[in-house]
Amino acid sequence: MALSIRHLLGLENVPREDIQLILDTTPSFLEVINRPIKKVPTLQGTTIVNLFFESSTRTRVSFELAERRLSADVVNFAASTSSVNKGETLLDTARNIEAMKVDMVVMRHSVPGAPHFLSRMCTSAFINAGDGAHEHPTQALLDMYSIRQKTGALEGLNVCIIGDIAHSRVARSNIFGLKTMGASVAVCGPPSLLPHDVESLGVRVFTNLDEALSFSDVINVLRIQLERKAGAAFPSLREYRETFGITGKRLERLPNPPLVLHPGPLNREVEISSDVADGPASIILEQVTNGVAVRMAVLYLLGTRKESDS
């Protein structure tokens, strides 16, 4: 039993067995990070580059912790802009990675498909740590692991993702992964923040939050940001909070309040109120802990994978 995939670029088209294997391998690593000495020698001699073309503290720190706890050699490469702004092509970047003889690349980029492009040109194993509005597979895996930890299974669960679906890589990866694992997925948000053909993703669509909440066993609340320019898809954060904010008052009305996830960082009192974020239904901090373990599992499974395994 090994992963059928060589890179983790997204969860779209990743077979159920692979997701299952990652989720099932995670507890071994969760045990490691709960020890006094949170480090194992497993990836000794493996070089991993964290290639971040877009600033991100949380995801990078989570990956770096995972890498160091597996004893990998870690190099952080942060570039606020694309190579193209320096007159370089992404191909030049790829050639440089190849020349540096790294084993794995964890990549964050603001443009969808950028890691797909690089992974086609390099021999290193690639993990997508977020490509624009496309995918953020390890976030969705840690979300799924955290849900499973609480509910025991994903199959048959009603999960609703709430917020700016159109621009969310977290939403897309969760939709692909959860559907593969047999969950029933819905999205909820203002129609101007839903992708044009959102039904084609095989999700239920709610534009009324209370209806969405009654449907849901689990809600995943996305961070909302207001673009300060003409063409913003909603008028104000205040109006968003009134219409789509998750508050204790709203959840109180439900016979079975859902489990609450949030990929962070929180916009307190905007998309989620503090009483919910810090309340009993929230598993936001478990997500962060599980994130390191899930990433260790992914790094292990990809980093020690043999071609003969596939």
């Binding site: 391998t25 507890p27 194992v40 020698p41 001699g45 292990y300 980093g303 003969s308």
Partner: protein, 187 residues
């Protein structure tokens, strides 16, 4: 897979376990500070048998833990097939204890070496002893067992298969011939 010889049948198996238990008792005058830690997969079951036997004859409950050494193996990346890590479950602090590591077969010694590394990350035992059901020789690292159920002389292309009721339906120790050369480091 061709069975060359049955080293121990069900009865022989039980006798081997009790021999191991008595060796342990002989060395450790008291079991007060002793803990048993089985190395996944079959070491866990051998450790459980030992614990049960010690409980029966000494009326002492020896704490039992399970150690997964996959993450400490020196061949994780060179291995022909990717080994999958499982959970280590040691529900007690090993610091200051006499830890008896238990495994089914001692061969190259690499698994025992990995287990010692793993133990180091979990605490600082007073001492570590190694209990092995079958020692088949061919060591690659300077490791020896403190307690050995059986010594079996083997050739490189042979393997010792330890079967335990819990997962293999019966208890037995078999000497078998491997169709292919052994995987490097397989213990």
């Amino acid at each position: 897979m061709k069975i060359i010889e049955t080293i121990a049948d069900e009865l022989g198996f039980v006798r081997t376990i009790s021999r191991l238990a008595h060796e342990i008792l002989e060395r450790n005058k008291t079991l007060e500070n002793v803990v048993l830690i089985g190395i996944r997969t079959r070491g866990e079951y051998i450790a459980r048998r030992l614990a049960a036997y010690l409980e029966e004859v000494e009326s002492v409950t020896v704490p039992l833990g399970v150690l997964d050494v996959t993450m400490y193996r020196d061949d994780v990346r060179g291995h022909l097939k990717q080994p999958l890590p499982h959970k280590t479950e040691i529900p007690f602090d090993i610091s200051g204890k006499t830890v008896i590591l238990v495994d089914d077969v001692l061969y190259t010694g690499r698994t025992a070496r990995a287990a010692l590394d793993a133990l180091t990350d979990l605490g600082r035992p007073a001492c570590v002893q190694l209990a092995i059901l079958v020692d088949r020789g061919h060591r690659q690292v300077p490791i020896r067992a403190d307690f050995t159920g059986k010594n079996v002389t083997t050739l490189e292309h042979e393997e010792i298969h330890v079967l335990v009721k819990e997962i293999d339906e019966r208890d037995a120790i078999l000497l078998v011939e491997t169709p292919e050369p052994q995987q490097p480091g397989k213990d």
